[in-house]
Structure formats: structure tokens, C-alpha cells
């Protein structure tokens, strides 16, 4: 067989693997989505929440309550309401908020832009510093560098983002005056201003990711260094760089990447707190406020978008893992 034919076969195998991972993720996504949305719907029915109390306030009477529930179609059978809603979701229509009557898809898009900006930057910081510290600690394992990094990572992992956020504001906004302490500016108004507004919240949000990724990576790499194939490689006279990239990193990175995959939903969830501290009207704030008000359609919208975001992100991580460590694609 020629070299070219071998290459095509390998490519085809890789593509097949990618497709298999994608198909499996979608196969998981559909039932998860169905069950999760059904449960939220059932919770509304169980809680007896109604848009009427949000709209009527002091003028709520039993008659006006019934009238508004009828307007929203809440007097119809449960399954009819659910299927109706589900059909609309598939066409991108998330309905209108009970609280202010605004279009939920639009509110969520606006909030998601803010949250994804912050979570994206936090993820970037998490990856850069997490990998940096993790690799450094693994390479200098058991030295004082390793101990300082491990100690610092343990310390920052227990710092709540609320406290970190307030401390960052006190130092960098109030004390030094370098960065704005609150608010949000879209990127259209200038890249620098946008970045300035999301930097402090992103740092506050990234601490957990930095420490978890660094610790997982260090542990993975240190374990890989103890494996026989590394000893074998050393015996065969391979350079430390080739050993690191060819054997250690590739085999030791799995846990860190998996943690990273789990981190993304955490970043969105943690955004509830950082967005409150920094006064950013993002996805997290919207989710928290809607839940507190009992704005059921908004909460359902949040759920739909969260599931999609989490699944897409996990899919990406799975694909990267499949590429790096082929065993993971076989579910081993």
C-alpha cells in the first residue's frame, strides 16, 4: 500500500471517530433535553406559580387571576401546554416573559452575549494559567516551585468569586483606578472598553478553573512520568521535549481536559454571583432574577439555552479528547 493511501485511511478513520462522538453526544442530548424540559414544566404545575401575581400586584382578585391564566393558556391540559411550548422552542420561539412581557429569546441573546464574553475570557485565563501552572509544577515536581504552585492553587480554589470580585474591585478599581468597577459595554463601542469591563469579572470567575486545571494537569503529568513507556523512552535516549509532548502530555492531559469540559457550565453558573457583584445584566443575573420572580417561561428559556451551551461545549471537549487520546472515543 502506498503512503498516500495509508494517510487517507487514517483520515477517514479520524473522521469516522469524530462523527461517532458527535452522534453519541446528540443521542444523549435529545433525551436529556426532553426529560429536563418536561420536569421544569411539571414543576410549574406543581408550584402553582402563575403570571397573574406578577402582573396584578395590589389589584389581584380571584376573577382577574382566572382571566389572566386563561389569556396565557394555563387552563389547558398539561400535555397540550408542554407540546405546544416544545414545538415553538424547536422553531426558536421561547415565548414572552410573565414579568415584563418581553420576548425571552431576545432577552436571553442579549444576556448571553455578556455572559459568554465574561465566561469566555475566564476560560481563556483558566486555560492559560491553569496549563501554565500545571505544566510548571509537573516539570519541577517536588521542588519548592511545585509546592508554592500547589499551595497557591489550593488557596485560590477555596476563594468564593463573590469575595474575589469585591477584593478585585477594591484593589484595581477603587485603589488603583485601572479598571471600571461595574457595568457592561458591548464590543461595538470599542474593543478596549469592552475588554476593560469584562476583565475583573473574568478574573474573579477564573480562579476555580485555574486551580482545578492546574492541579489535574499536574497530577496527570506526574502520573504519566512514572509510566513504563516514559522510562522506556528515556532508555531509548529520546530528548525531554519529545518525551513530554509525545508521551507525557498526550497521556496526562485527559483529566485536565475533562475538568475543563465540566468547568464551562460552572462558569455560566458562577456568573450569577460575579454578574451581581459587577452589575452586569447577563445570562446568570437573568436566570437568578427570573427564578426568584417565578417567571416560568423565562426560566424554561434559560434551561433550553443552558442545555444547548453545555452540550455543545462538551461535544467540543469530547472531540478534542478523541483526537488526542483515541481510547476515549471508544469509551474506554
Amino acid at each position: 500500500m502506498s503512503g498516500a493511501g495509508l494517510g487517507t485511511a487514517r483520515l477517514r478513520r479520524a473522521a469516522g471517530r469524530t462523527a461517532a462522538v458527535a452522534a453519541r453526544s446528540i443521542a444523549i442530548f435529545v433525551p436529556v433535553f426532553g426529560v429536563a424540559t418536561f420536569v421544569t414544566f411539571a414543576l410549574r404545575a406543581l408550584s402553582g406559580l402563575s403570571p397573574a401575581h406578577l402582573q396584578l400586584g395590589e389589584s389581584a382578585t380571584p376573577e382577574s387571576l382566572a382571566r389572566i391564566e386563561h389569556e396565557w393558556g394555563l387552563d389547558r391540559p398539561f400535555l397540550t401546554q408542554y407540546l405546544d411550548w416544545f414545538g415553538k422552542v424547536l422553531s426558536g420561539d421561547l415565548g414572552t416573559s410573565w414579568y415584563n412581557g418581553a420576548d425571552i429569546a431576545q432577552l436571553l441573546t442579549e444576556g448571553a452575549v455578556i455572559s459568554l464574553s465574561v465566561a469566555g475570557l475566564a476560560l481563556l485565563i483558566g486555560v492559560v494559567f491553569g496549563f501554565g501552572f500545571g505544566i510548571l509544577a509537573a516539570l519541577r515536581r517536588t521542588t519548592w516551585v511545585d509546592r508554592v504552585i500547589t499551595g497557591a492553587m489550593t488557596f485560590i480554589s477555596v476563594m468564593p468569586s463573590f469575595v474575589v470580585g469585591i477584593a478585585l474591585v477594591a484593589v484595581f478599581a477603587v485603589g488603583l483606578g485601572w479598571l471600571p468597577s461595574a457595568g457592561w459595554v458591548p464590543a461595538e463601542r470599542g474593543f478596549g472598553v469592552w475588554l476593560a469591563h469584562i476583565t475583573l469579572p473574568a478574573i474573579a470567575l477564573s480562579f476555580d478553573t485555574v486551580s482545578d486545571v492546574a492541579r489535574q494537569l499536574r497530577a496527570g503529568l506526574v502520573a504519566a512520568y512514572r509510566e513504563n513507556y516514559v522510562t522506556g523512552a528515556v532508555v531509548r535516549g529520546l530528548g525531554p521535549r519529545r518525551i513530554f509532548f509525545g508521551h507525557v502530555l498526550r497521556n496526562g492531559i485527559g483529566p485536565a481536559l475533562t475538568v475543563l469540559g465540566l468547568k464551562f457550565p460552572n462558569l455560566l453558573g458562577g456568573a450569577v454571583v460575579t454578574e451581581a457583584v459587577f452589575g452586569m445584566p447577563g445570562f446568570g443575573q437573568f436566570a437568578a432574577a427570573s427564578a426568584q420572580r417565578g417567571d416560568v417561561p423565562a426560566v424554561q428559556g434559560v434551561l433550553v439555552v443552558s442545555i444547548v451551551l453545555v452540550v455543545v461545549f462538551n461535544l467540543l471537549v469530547n472531540l478534542i479528547l478523541a483526537r488526542l487520546t483515541p481510547a476515549s472515543a471508544r469509551g474506554v
Partner: protein, 505 residues
């Protein structure tokens, strides 16, 4: 080692990103040069149609976009706004408001007598109106010519100029009101500002309205409303100049003063109460209600909830207000021994009464009520119900809490609390004896009559015989503003923008 260098490079790249960020923050992306902009961090109102918006605190924000038929001054007296004056007929059951000439809404529609009539009729009839209960005195509205709005009343009522102020008569454009759902998210009024950008839950930008009747005295070019950050970081965000104005938690007053910000204690009509249902056991026994009255230590609310920035009150207003009745003050002083004795007389052993205190959100005040009632032997469980308003306004609860921001018309405040249909009377249709006659007399007394205060206080006295409400404390409206913002007019319960300036930063 190579790898160490590589990770150093990564760290350097990250530092560069941060450095880039810091250079970006120098410029102010908000407003054009030379414009004076007020940036207000605030909980944004859900509804921008004044007919739908219910709470008193929200009308303060809506007043940016809407002008009202009348206004109140520092003393709480009705003064001209869109109406430059008004006349009652000799029998007091008809009042004619004279509008200023050549008024128009921000969509260009004329603001004439017809527009005011259409607004008031909409407030009375729209299905989701939060105001219809306030307009029961109004029988019929007619437009006489372009400028005179004739309001025919169901009874003699000299409170109408107070009633048709900020809370009840922020006039909307009749053209925009043809689609009330759209108006609710796209305010069209004749206020000092017009909305230029509106993102629900995020921000609202407004610019000065040159057609506002008093535009000459509005010195702000732009107002930006931003969703407020957590109360823990309000002070630092004003300190760093991100915002100019915000509501302030009493707990943060010290920090705000230390940061060199202006703390504004704005007067108001606020009063909080314990709402009781006398139609339900055990409160059908007046001795149990009296026991609760004696069990309440008002100073504890002032100290722990308002951090001293409030007043103890046993009436639906703060002490010192026109309708506050000195003769009724301190009728039920704090006396736990008396409370225990009354419960024993009613036949209850300590701990025998177990009640649910149902409230919409967790609050320190609820925990104080729980502790104070526990001290006299009443066991209270706090139940937080986000759906609270449904049973509360349907009068299904036995025990709850309420806090009002008050109304410009003191008579309206009284009927809301003590009247047989009052939304804040948890015991409807219960009404204390003599209240109806007393409140009717107060209503029939012209506002400039020498008897007005005395008749009003007599109505308060009659209302306080009600066993449905135990008033506790009157919180103060606290704002924090940057020193660049000039003093705010001290209008009780409201925020006015007339004469307010913001110096360039």
C-alpha cells in the same frame, strides 16, 4: 529548560491581554463630549405603562418619561404640572383641570383634554390596570374644548388634585396606548425625557425632551438607567464614577460617607405593618390582637432593619406627617407582661398559638416579628412564598407583612389600609366603626380649609381602631449620589429632576 520558557511566554501573553484591557478603560464610551449625563443604577421597572405599573417606587423612574397632571411640592401640597390650575364647583363633586396650551407627546400627538380623558378612562377600564381601585371617586370625564378636563365625581372629594399626580395620572400618548402591550415596553409620554434605547432588564437611555412643559428647568441632557449591581458594590461603583446615583441600603451608609459620596435621606410616606386577618382564628378574639399590639417593640425594627435611618411608627405614615395623629401615638406601648396576660385571658397557654407568617421574600423584619411574638408565647413559622400576593390580596392569609411607599393623597392611604375594600386591609370587608364617616368628612374638607388637618387626623384615629394592622416602622428613602450631582428636590416619596445638574467629570 525550553518548557519553562514556553510557559513564561504564555504568562507574558496573558499579561499583555490584561495590559491592553487597562489601556482601554481610560475613555468614557457613554456620552458625547459636553453633554451632562446622569447615570442611575437602579432596579429597572418591569412595566413602563403607568396604568400597569403598580408600585410607588417604580413611578419615580417612570416620571423620567411621563409628566403627570399635577405634582406635589416639598410640603406634599398639590401644585400645577401639565394642568396649570383647577377649580372645584360649589358642591365639590366636580373638578375642572385647565391644561397648559400647546403641550405635545414625544410622538408628536397633541396633549389635550381629550388625551387626558382617554388616559383616565383607560386607567379605569384596562384589564390589567393597577390603578382602577384608586379611581372609584371618578364617575365620568369629559373634555370641554381643548384645554379643560371636567372630572365628575361619585362623591364630594377634594383629594382629586393630590390623587391625579405622579402615581395615578402620568399621561400616556393616546396613539401609543392603542397598543398597550407595545406601550408597556416603549414609553411615549410628555415627560422631561424621551427614551432613545430600551433593553429590558439591562439598560434604558433617555435624552432631554425639548417639548416638556418645564424644559427650561431641566439641565440634564441624558439620563442612563443601568441595572444596579449588588448592594455590596454600589458604593465602589459610585466611587469610581461608573454611576452617579443609586438607592442605598441602610447598612451601606457608613461606607458611602467614608467614600466621600453624598448620602441623601429623601423624605417619604413609607410605613411597614404586620397584617392580621381578624376573620380567622385566633385573631377573631380581640384579646389576641391586642396581645400582638403590646408584643411589638418598634425600636428594634428601627435599629436592626433601618440601622437607625428610620422612625418607629404606630400609624400608616411616619411621625410628623400631616395625617399623623399625635393623640393616637403610643396607645399600645411595648409591654410583654400585658401581652402574656391578654393571651392567658383569651384562654391560650404559652406556645399554644402556632401561626404561619407568609411573606414574599426573606426579610430581617420577619425574623424580628417571629422573635418578638415568641417572647410572649406565640409560635410563628416564616413561610416564604413567591406567589404570596395571590393569597394576600385574596385575603386568604392569617398573618403577613406589608410595607407601603404611601400615596400623595393621605385619604387614599387611609382607605387603602382601613377601608372595606382596601387592598392593604387583610381583613376585608372588616372596617372599624366610625371610619367611614370620619374618612368621608376628611374627603369633603377642602385642602386649604383650616379644619383639614384636624379632620384628617380624626380619620386616622378612627382607622387605627382597626385590628387588622399593627404598624411597626417607617423606613427612610436613602439615595447615594456622587458630589457631581447637585441637591435633589426634597419632594416626599418622589424624585424630581427640575433644577438638578451634573457637573462634568
Amino acid at each position: 529548560m525550553n518548557l519553562v520558557r514556553r510557559s513564561r511566554q504564555l504568562a507574558a501573553a496573558a499579561a499583555a491581554v490584561l495590559a491592553l484591557a487597562t489601556t482601554g478603560c481610560a475613555g468614557d464610551a457613554g456620552s458625547a463630549a459636553g453633554e451632562s449625563t446622569l447615570r442611575w443604577a437602579v432596579a429597572l421597572p418591569a412595566h413602563w405603562d403607568p396604568v400597569v405599573s403598580g408600585s410607588g417606587a417604580q413611578f419615580r423612574i417612570l416620571s423620567l418619561a411621563y409628566a403627570s397632571l399635577t405634582e406635589i411640592d416639598e410640603q406634599g401640597r398639590a401644585v400645577p404640572s401639565l394642568a396649570k390650575g383647577w377649580d372645584y364647583n360649589s358642591t365639590g363633586d366636580q373638578v375642572t383641570f385647565h391644561l397648559r396650551p400647546n403641550l405635545k407627546f414625544s410622538d408628536g400627538e397633541p396633549l389635550n383634554a381629550q388625551a387626558v380623558k382617554l388616559y383616565l378612562e383607560r386607567a379605569k377600564t384596562q384589564k390589567n390596570s393597577a390603578l382602577f381601585g384608586d379611581l372609584t371617586s371618578i364617575k365620568e370625564i369629559t373634555a370641554s374644548g381643548d384645554l379643560d378636563v371636567v372630572v365628575n365625581l361619585t362623591q364630594v372629594d377634594y383629594q382629586i388634585p393630590l390623587l391625579l399626580g405622579e402615581r395615578v395620572a402620568q399621561i400616556t400618548s393616546p396613539k401609543a396606548a392603542q397598543d398597550p402591550v407595545k406601550l408597556d415596553q416603549n414609553p411615549v409620554g410628555a415627560g422631561p425625557f424621551t427614551v432613545t434605547e430600551f433593553v429590558p432588564g439591562s439598560h434604558v437611555y433617555l435624552k432631554k425632551n425639548p417639548d416638556y412643559w418645564d424644559a427650561a428647568n431641566i439641565h440634564l441632557d441624558r439620563v442612563e438607567l443601568h441595572a444596579a449591581p449588588d448592594s455590596a458594590t454600589i458604593v465602589s461603583s459610585l466611587q469610581t464614577g461608573v454611576y452617579d446615583l443609586a438607592y442605598l441600603d441602610a447598612a451601606q451608609v457608613k461606607a458611602a460617607k467614608a467614600a466621600g459620596l453624598d448620602v441623601v435621606l429623601q423624605p417619604g410616606f413609607n410605613a411597614s405593618n404586620i397584617s392580621i386577618n381578624v376573620n380567622k382564628k385566633p385573631f377573631d378574639d380581640p384579646k389576641v390582637v391586642d396581645a400582638v399590639r403590646y408584643a411589638v417593640n418598634r425600636q428594634e425594627f428601627v435599629d436592626k432593619v433601618t440601622f437607625g435611618y428610620g422612625k418607629a411608627t404606630d400609624q400608616p405614615f411616619p411621625p410628623g406627617y400631616l395625617a399623623y395623629d399625635e393623640k393616637s401615638a403610643g396607645l399600645f406601648p411595648y409591654d410583654t407582661a400585658k401581652a402574656k396576660q391578654l393571651l392567658a385571658e383569651a384562654g391560650y397557654q404559652p406556645g399554644q398559638i402556632k401561626l404561619d407568617l407568609v411573606i414574599p421574600a426573606q426579610s430581617a423584619a420577619a425574623e424580628i416579628v417571629q422573635a418578638q411574638l415568641a417572647a410572649v408565647g406565640i409560635t410563628v413559622s416564616i413561610k416564604v412564598d413567591p406567589n404570596w400576593s395571590t393569597p394576600f390580596f385574596a385575603k386568604d392569609l392569617t398573618l403577613s407583612l406589608y410595607g407601603t411607599t404611601g400615596r400623595e393623597s393621605p385619604v387614599q392611604t387611609l382607605t387603602a389600609h382601613f377601608g372595606p375594600n382596601g387592598p392593604l386591609n387583610l381583613s376585608t370587608p372588616y372596617e372599624p366603626e366610625g371610619f367611614e364617616a370620619a374618612v368621608s368628612l376628611a374627603r369633603r374638607t377642602p385642602l386649604d380649609s383650616p379644619d383639614y388637618a384636624a379632620n384628617l387626623q380624626a380619620a386616622t384615629r378612627a382607622g387605627l381602631a382597626s385590628r387588622a394592622l399593627v404598624f411597626t416602622y417607617a423606613p427612610t428613602n436613602i439615595f447615594v449620589k456622587s458630589t457631581r450631582v447637585s441637591a435633589l428636590p426634597a419632594i416626599p416619596g418622589q424624585l424630581h429632576w427640575t433644577g438638578v445638574t451634573v457637573a462634568a467629570s
